[in-house]
């Protein structure tokens, strides 16, 4: 991400001037307006031409609203449910019952942790098998209670560890994909940070896939692709472009259904506005899905994923 320094400096100066106006020290109204216009122009210029790699940086930005903080901002109330009823609870993949724009829903979300210590226990949002099995449990609850399922996806990927392998993490992810496809209630996935590979798709096979403007969704991290295909760690920015992992690109590929614009400079510049915009979009899609019959929704979902990645004409087919 290129420097945001000039913007930060100007922002501080504008704030200073505004305070002087409030304090009635000087009549600076005209100067203030001029500066604010200049600041806005600077921001637009800076953020209008974000590269794919810039967006990767924004998706990973430490101040980006995510996890429990985002859930609290998007919902009116949230009651957390814990544990997979077999092995344990996973703080990296959380969920519960929520009220969201007046709708009741079951919510699932990755949680990376807000503090350094929490990030350690949450493994920065890399979920273990018990996380995905808890997700299965909550998906069952959603279907039983006829509550729509909303997932908020933000993970570097599923946790790669010895114990996770022993507990069949691949099988747990596969089961989540299958369960999401068989859900009888409306399902909405919001990819709002990093959508990292299998760990992300386990929660993202929904009726509607919404992405925040600066979120990514990819089969491999740009760094991973750079190492494997370019044999050069420095090629990550190039890989980010070639892999087409950003929200606008995935909208073009029809993998995302809608891209929710973020405040200038990214969600972290105005978390409240981001959450409001996101809630409005989720509520709109829930409304659209609610009026469709069960059969219609199931057929649409099947068709969508059966033909995922588009259908191609087959020259050999004649």
């Amino acid at each position: 991400m290129p420097s945001e320094e000039p913007i930060r400096v100007l922002e501080a100066k504008v704030a200073e001037l505004r305070q002087m106006v409030v304090d009635g020290e000087l009549d600076l109204k005209e100067e203030l307006e001029l500066l604010e216009r200049k600041l806005h122009g600077l921001k637009e210029k800076r953020y209008a031409s974000l590269s794919d790699w810039d967006r990767v940086a924004l998706a990973r930005h430490t101040d980006r609203p995510r996890g429990l903080r985002l859930v609290e901002a998007v919902t009116e109330s949230f009651y957390e449910l814990r544990g997979d009823r077999a092995i344990g609870d996973d703080p990296a993949l959380r969920g519960g019952l929520a009220r969201l724009g007046g709708h009741r829903a079951v919510l699932l979300f990755h949680h990376r942790g807000a503090t350094a210590e929490e990030q350690r226990t949450c493994r920065s949002g890399m979920a273990k098998p018990q996380g995905y099995r808890k997700a299965l449990r909550l998906m069952d609850i959603a279907d039983r209670l006829r509550l729509p399922l909303v997932t908020l996806v933000d993970t570097p990927g599923a946790y790669p560890g010895v114990e996770a392998e022993e507990q069949n993490i691949a099988g747990a992810i596969a089961a989540c994909i299958a369960r999401m496809l068989s859900m009888r209630v409306p399902t909405i996935s919001v990819i709002h940070g990093e959508g990292g590979s299998g760990g992300a798709i386990a929660l993202a096979v929904a009726d509607r896939v919404i992405m925040l403007e600066n979120a990514t969704y990819s089969v491999i991290s740009p760094e991973g692709a750079a190492a494997i295909l370019w044999k050069d760690a420095g090629a990550a920015p190039e890989a980010a472009g070639a892999l087409r992992i950003t929200a606008p690109r995935l909208l073009e590929l029809a993998i995302a259904d809608e891209v929710v614009p973020e405040p200038l400079g990214g969600a972290h510049n105005d978390p409240a506005a981001t959450a409001d915009a996101l809630q409005a979009v989720i509520v709109r899609h829930l409304g659209e899905l609610h009026v469709r019959s069960l059969d219609e929704r199931m057929a649409m979902r099947y068709k969508r994923y059966r033909h995922a990645g588009g259908s191609r004409s087959n020259p050999d087919q004649g």
């Binding site: 790669p160 560890g161 299998g198 798709i201 692709a225 995922a308």
Partner: protein
């Protein structure tokens, strides 16, 4: 092409390249020089130490199906490059190279066949084709085969030899996990059995999707079965990997597969499973 392993006996990725048509192959396990034609007789198992060399899709079909019974599905999908992907080389070039190396259109062969007299729909993956990775074509072929199995009421047999999703197809390859799992639901609706045979390797996005959702899962001895690669695990967690990690035996001990079978026994094993599952039965 032998399976390569590092000095601690773990599997390492085999780099794709034209197989040298030499008369002998060196076993990477015991160093023995094995006469190439002899390997065909031994089902590509080292005659000295018993190490498994992976099979091509064509070799697998020959070893698994009743002789001459394999009928490829007539609708084949040509290779696709959904992103117009270029890294150090264009993906299209890699595809063309893999096609000329394998004689396949992509990393899977699908068709109807008989195993111990039982008619099945078969999908066999080929590790030589960009690591057996699943992109749009592989996902589409597997889904088409599953549809054929459900329609024709034949059990579906998937022989996995795949490193995972195809990176060069980006998120489109990730979508193939959902596609194959979606198709899999047709088998359940039609009450048609699904048998997965996990071989070297069954990893990544392939294992985290359709390959993990069979009714009966058999691992071939010599298989590698796991989600994350050993290097990724070590680099991310710093954990030391236990001996025998992600082997067929490991998968059996951890409840991930139903049975571990030698390559010689696989044909008969499938016959037994199909015999139990199929009403009336078909005489051999």
């Amino acid at each position: 092409m032998p399976i390569r392993r590092d000095d601690r006996g773990r599997y390492v990725e085999v780099e794709l390249g034209r197989v040298e048509e030499s008369l002998w192959l060196r076993c990477t396990e015991c160093g023995e020089l094995v006469f190439r034609r002899k390997l065909r007789e031994t089902n590509h198992i080292c005659p000295r130490c018993g190490a498994y060399f992976f099979l091509t899709a064509q070799e697998r079909i020959a070893s698994l199906c009743d002789e001459g019974s394999f009928q490829p599905l007539t609708v084949g999908h040509s290779s696709s490059d959904p992103l117009g992907f270029v890294d150090r080389r264009p993906y299209e070039e890699r595809l063309a190279e893999a096609q000329s190396l394998t004689g396949l259109r992509d990393a899977v062969m699908v068709g109807r066949a008989r195993v111990s007299g039982h008619p099945v729909m078969l999908a066999v993956m080929d590790f030589r084709f960009i690591g057996g990775s699943m992109g749009w074509v592989v996902g589409e072929e597997i889904a088409t085969a599953i549809e054929g199995a459900a329609e024709g009421k034949n059990p579906f047999v998937l022989v996995v030899a795949s490193g995972g999703a195809r990176v060069q197809e980006g998120t489109v390859s990730l979508m193939q996990m959902a596609k194959t799992v979606a198709a899999r639901s047709l088998l359940a609706e039609a009450g048609i059995p699904f048998i997965a045979v996990l071989t070297y390797p069954s990893t990544g996005g392939m294992l985290a999707s359709v390959a993990s959702l069979a009714d009966v899962t058999v691992a071939e001895q010599g298989a590698m079965i796991g989600f994350a690669g050993p290097r990724v695990i070590e680099q991310t967690t710093g954990e030391r990997l236990p001996a025998g990690f992600q082997t067929a035996k490991f998968a059996l001990e951890h409840g991930i597969v139903d049975q571990v079978v030698t390559r010689e026994a696989l044909h008969d094993e499938l016959g037994r499973v199909l015999g139990v599952l199929t009403e009336g039965g078909h005489a051999e």
